[in-house]
Symmetry: C2
Subunit: 368 residues, 2 copies
């Protein structure tokens, strides 16, 4: 049997949403990933430590693992999965992030760090879903003072880096800010989130304290998948998928297992109605590991997937987990939508109707 | 009263569709334009002279001018419009075009010309709506033989020029075919339709027998209007609107009244349902002259609009009309959708909710 075991898969960028949406999407991540970085752009956004901690509690309360595994059970290819499920305990860590905004204070940053929140997430104002409270300007004296402290505290700055220019140039136009920050705060780790432009890769390589996260869809799609034939709202996300050259460069760096890049799905569930109304975001949580295995295997780089989907993140973000989760994938055609539907609730699943080369065969956990 | 009179406005690229859609959209063009070039990409496409002539007859049968003027009456700003309507006779000429396909024969081209059809419309296979029967390859010996004859007969070749490459590069990648054809057939007039890429302007200027048509929306929009904020299917068309640089270049050449470029709206009605399913095309027929006046006036180039919207086409396509239609526009805020709805039937009108600076004040016709 042709299998691959991924140990402690980590998703360093995910939108888990709230309430019924949280309930619907969490099982897919909680079952197959050991840790996820939960984005703070809720409505309202998580502007202080208190709201981040309250959100973390909600996520943990929704972590009903029996339910989670029952939901993903139809997608597990194993004749006797119950036997494995018995071994599964609460093995899922949501890593939290604080939404950076114009009124953020030094005291709030210190409080966050003390409370175990070490990731600051910066959105430029209006750049994406619920980014209305984002920063209108990044390089302000006040914010630079905060970053000085964040650096001292060993925090990490994750940035949705887009200018307000022409959509295809936005990420590239924002790079000078990354450069400025990387030079000004040489021991602050700074992440270029959901990298979509090949120029960002060069920038990450230029500074030791710059890193990147990469989504599945930026490895697979170009703008042609959105506008090349009929308009396809389900391939629409921010930053928008770009040119074939960009995709090739991002794919190459991910396949290489380059230690400066970790996997972050940017799984962003929106109802079909919201998608038809133009919302940006791709919901890919249910098929991530299957699709990543298929992709890396197709390119004969499966040996680098463990780095891309786990080890790099553990190192960059200095994550330690008190357990080990093994996800065993088997080379066998898998179509998510074939079991029940290509939807999870009112949300269309990315690649939900496509044949993937790998399916999940088992999930096993043990104490670290 | 601040008015401008446009004489014999001509729309050198329009989709009039069939049946109920034809009935719904024709009044807007028939009332305000003296002539239009009707596109042959119907379903099924107009692959021979007979079907083109049958389509022309259908259009003429639908030209109920009383109905047409009654439909546009609410959009005319005139206290006593009836007085003018009495003067209006049948003053509308649909210019027809033959769909170029792989099985087109020399005899069919000759027959078309004899029947008064002098425009050949070429679509690359699959480039846009109903282009499945388009040419899989352009520069074939067989087609070049046909073009030799078309040149001899004084016909005109209109091309939807897009490669099957990356969407933002498709028009530029097709230009070498225009160059090849322009050189091979120096007295054949060749039109780059609905120009969307600034490189096409250079190409038109390079060869005396190359010309271009320009839409309203390519003068106004960039890709950002489709994907820059929320996804907006109503701004989606083929060729897709491109970069700010492209728009600026196209706008500049249109505003200059450059004699090698004529107006062609590419008004392409699709039901809202079809648009939500990703159909490419913008329906702008009801607001064309109002929006063009507003745009040219805003840029202080209103004196060149007559050339752009009429004289250039008369000369390039060698059109003579047995009547003169004057459309009098008045500088007064106009919102199409304010009267009844932003829709015509099930079709959303481009800019239907926007305030335009000009409205139509009167339409008068006389014998040439």
């Amino acid at each position: 049997m042709d299998t691959i075991t991924l140990t402690n898969p980590i998703d360093m960028h995910i939108h888990l949403r709230q309430d019924s949406l949280l309930q619907a999407v969490l099982p897919y991540s909680a079952s197959c990933f050991s840790a996820v970085l939960a984005m703070p752009n809720l409505n309202p956004p998580l502007l202080n430590t208190q709201s981040v901690l309250a959100y973390k509690e909600k996520i943990m309360m929704e972590c009903d693992f029996e339910k989670a595994y029952n939901i993903i059970l139809p997608h597990i290819n194993n004749q006797n999965p119950q036997a494995n499920l018995l071994n599964i305990q609460q093995h899922f860590v949501p890593i939290m992030s604080l939404y950076v905004h114009d009124n953020l204070t030094l005291a709030e940053i210190q409080k966050a760090k003390t409370s175990g929140i070490k990731i600051l997430k910066l959105y430029p104002k209006g750049a994406t879903t619920n980014a209305e409270n984002g920063m209108s300007e990044v390089l302000t004296p006040n914010f630079l003072t905060l970053l000085e402290e964040a650096q001292r505290l060993g925090m990490i700055l994750s940035i949705h880096g887009e200018s307000n220019g022409f959509s295809m140039d936005r990420e590239r136009e924002f790079l000078f800010i990354f450069e400025e920050l990387a030079k000004s705060f040489p021991t602050l780790k700074i992440i270029i989130e959901h990298l979509s432009d090949r120029h960002s890769i060069e920038m990450v390589h230029k500074y030791p304290n710059l890193f990147g996260t990469i989504t599945l869809h930026h490895l697979l799609l170009t703008l042609d998948d959105v506008i090349g034939g009929k308009l396809n709202p389900f391939m629409f996300c921010k930053p928008v998928v770009k040119t074939p050259k960009d995709r090739e460069a991002i794919l190459e760096v991910a396949l290489s297992g380059d230690s400066k890049f970790s996997f972050g799905s940017d799984s962003a569930p929106h109802t079909i109605e919201a998608k038809m109304n133009g919302a940006a975001g791709i919901f890919n949580a249910p098929i991530l590991l299957q699709a990543l295995c298929s992709l890396f295997d197709k390119h004969k780089k499966i040996e680098n997937l463990q780095d891309f989907v786990s080890c790099n993140a553990l190192q960059i973000y200095d994550i330690s987990l008190p357990f080990v989760k093994h996800v065993i994938l088997q080379k066998k055609p898998f179509v998510f939508g074939r079991q029940i539907s290509t939807q999870v609730g009112d949300i269309e699943v990315f690649m939900g109707n496509e044949i993937l080369d790998y399916c999940i065969a088992d999930i096993r956990t043990e104490v670290a």
